[in-house]
Amino acid sequence: MRMNLEGTSLKREDIDSKRVLTTRFRSNAFYAWDTGRGIGRYLQGLKAGEIWGTHCDTCNRTVVPPRIFCERCMKNQVSWVKLQDTGIINTFSICYVNWDASRVEEPHLPAVIEIDGASQGHGILHVLDEVNPKDLKIGMKVKAVWKRPEERNADITDILYWKPY
């Protein structure tokens, strides 16, 4: 079958020379999110230097980030559990690019960290530091490095990063 395909590929010079016209707009949206009962309490915990999860009494599962309901059984019989500020690396990456595809000098080290005290396989997204990327391994034990108490803002960045211990 012969295909006559449309679609005109542009090159940078087509736009720069204004041979092809472009109009522009910059969005200026600004939001304020109410953190709710679950994440609100989680963030308050971070400010106090503590990581809190929730335990579903029906499913016998401790999760983090915490929620006031269990998405599996859709019940609200959950209790709050203080977790450790230690965990193990579930997976990690050594990332050399920013969101705009520009390159970074020192790689970012994002990881999913399974938090001690939560059910197996339950972790959070965070970043690693104070480690040679070459030495990173899945299963490695890591601990949170916190901001000083007076610098904390009830934000996930109250934990600066995680480091092997």
Partner: protein, 389 residues
């Protein structure tokens, strides 16, 4: 099971070229794909009972209610028209929506259009993905989209003892396949060494193991049994449909195995009466935005054992000439990845392959059953379509 197998057919297909930046507006891209689909079925807009539009985040275009904006270019003028959206899974979900519009008995024909123009977002389309991360617990960490793929790929590799070199043959296969696709953005002769020597973007993800950002559109026309047989002598029947969504708490999930893809596949296989997918599926178009995702998905689709999908590309089973060609189109890695359109491109490919119209890309052996799958949202949705001739 209420049935539905082989009650609705694909009777026409069309697409635009996939390019990094298209001169055409989203409406114009949608129009070109629709025009080609209508022409291929020798139909006019009067023959279309309803229209389904699939397009991914409004954030790419900076146009609110993009479905409404796209209505005209999509043939939706004064028709029952709707937009469905499950992120990257949209391109296979849209024809599923078309299927149930017709299977319900409400409509005899449906036009399904998927469009994406990613290049509008400045300075790089990746920025439009930043808001998919959890607004309170993840975004303050300044994640980028590559993170979650690199994290998932590393977990997959580590669970099964795989290395990057085991997965790289998928890139070699798909990019070389795309050389023969006239719409392809990134078809190229590339060797395993070139893939392995390409830049490390986010270890273990290398540059040549990532699909590009793209502009493009695809369209298919669906019809019920009565109409399909009048429109064409070679209808491609929708034998099974499935879709499934996992939790958005992705850091609480098993990243080594896409359970939601298995759930979607089992739903489609049940409808299609497919008991042994490895034997019965002749040609497969799994979603391959990253090389490891093709492997991940072949396993979820029950077309490879867990951790064994990489071996299929290494052994040549999934080559165009192999026993189970995978991404004979060239996939997202080779043809390109205009999000929603990329998934529907896979359905178009099966349509052409099962009709013997794929030209240089035609797989040998007269395939009977094909499967297209897409994936997306926050790594959590699987959408599956099984078709047969």
């Amino acid at each position: 099971m209420s049935g539905g197998k082989n009650e609705v057919a694909i009777v026409g297909a069309g697409m635009t070229k996939f390019v990094r930046r298209a001169q055409e507006t989203p409406k114009e891209l949608a129009f070109e794909a629709v025009r080609m689909a209508l022409d291929s079925a020798e139909m006019t807009l009067d023959d279309i009972d309803c229209v389904i539009q699939g397009t991914a985040p409004d954030a790419f275009d900076g146009i609110h209610m993009k479905g409404e904006y796209l209505c005209d270019g999509s043939g939706g003028w004064q028709k029952p028209y709707s937009r469905g959206y499950v992120g990257g899974g949209t391109g296979v979900f849209a024809p599923i929506q078309g299927w149930y519009h017709i299977a319900s008995g409400m409509f005899e024909t449906a036009l399904v259009v998927c469009e994406e123009k990613m290049s509008t977002f400045q300075p790089h389309p990746q920025g439009a993905f930043l808001t998919i991360f959890d607004n309170m617990t993840e975004r303050p960490l300044k994640p980028n989209l590559l993170w979650i793929f690199a994290l998932e790929m590393n977990r997959y590799m580590s669970t099964y003892g795989l290395q990057i070199k085991d997965i790289a043959p998928v890139s070699v296969k798909n990019k070389n396949n795309a050389l023969k696709h006239p719409a392809a953005q990134l078809g190229k002769e590339i060797t395993l060494e070139q893939v392995l020597n390409s830049e490390v973007l986010a270890w273990p993800v290398l540059r040549e193991m990532v699909s590009p950002t793209s502009d493009g559109a695809c369209a298919v026309i669906l019809a019920n049994k009565k109409r399909a047989k009048k429109i064409t002598q070679k209808p491609v029947w929708i034998s099974g449909v499935g879709w499934n969504l996992d939790t958005a708490y992705w850091t609480n999930r098993d990243l080594a195995y896409p359970q939601y893809v298995e759930n979607a596949a089992r739903m489609a296989y049940k409808m299609a009466d497919i008991r042994e997918p490895k034997k019965e599926i002749n040609i497969v178009e799994p979603y391959d935005p990253f090389a490891y995702k093709e492997c991940h998905h072949l396993e979820g689709l029950q077309l490879a054992d867990r951790g064994k999908a990489p071996q299929l590309a290494i052994d040549g089973v999934t080559l165009r000439t192999g026993n189970m060609p995978s991404c004979p189109s060239g996939g997202l890695l080779g043809v390109g990845n205009p999000i929603a359109a990329a998934g529907l491109m896979k359905v178009c490919e099966l349509f052409w392959q099962l009709r013997g119209e794929a030209g240089e890309r035609q797989v040998p052996g007269k395939p009977k059953y094909g499967l297209a799958q897409a994936w997306g949202d926050l790594m959590q949705v699987g959408t599956v379509l099984v078709v047969s001739n």
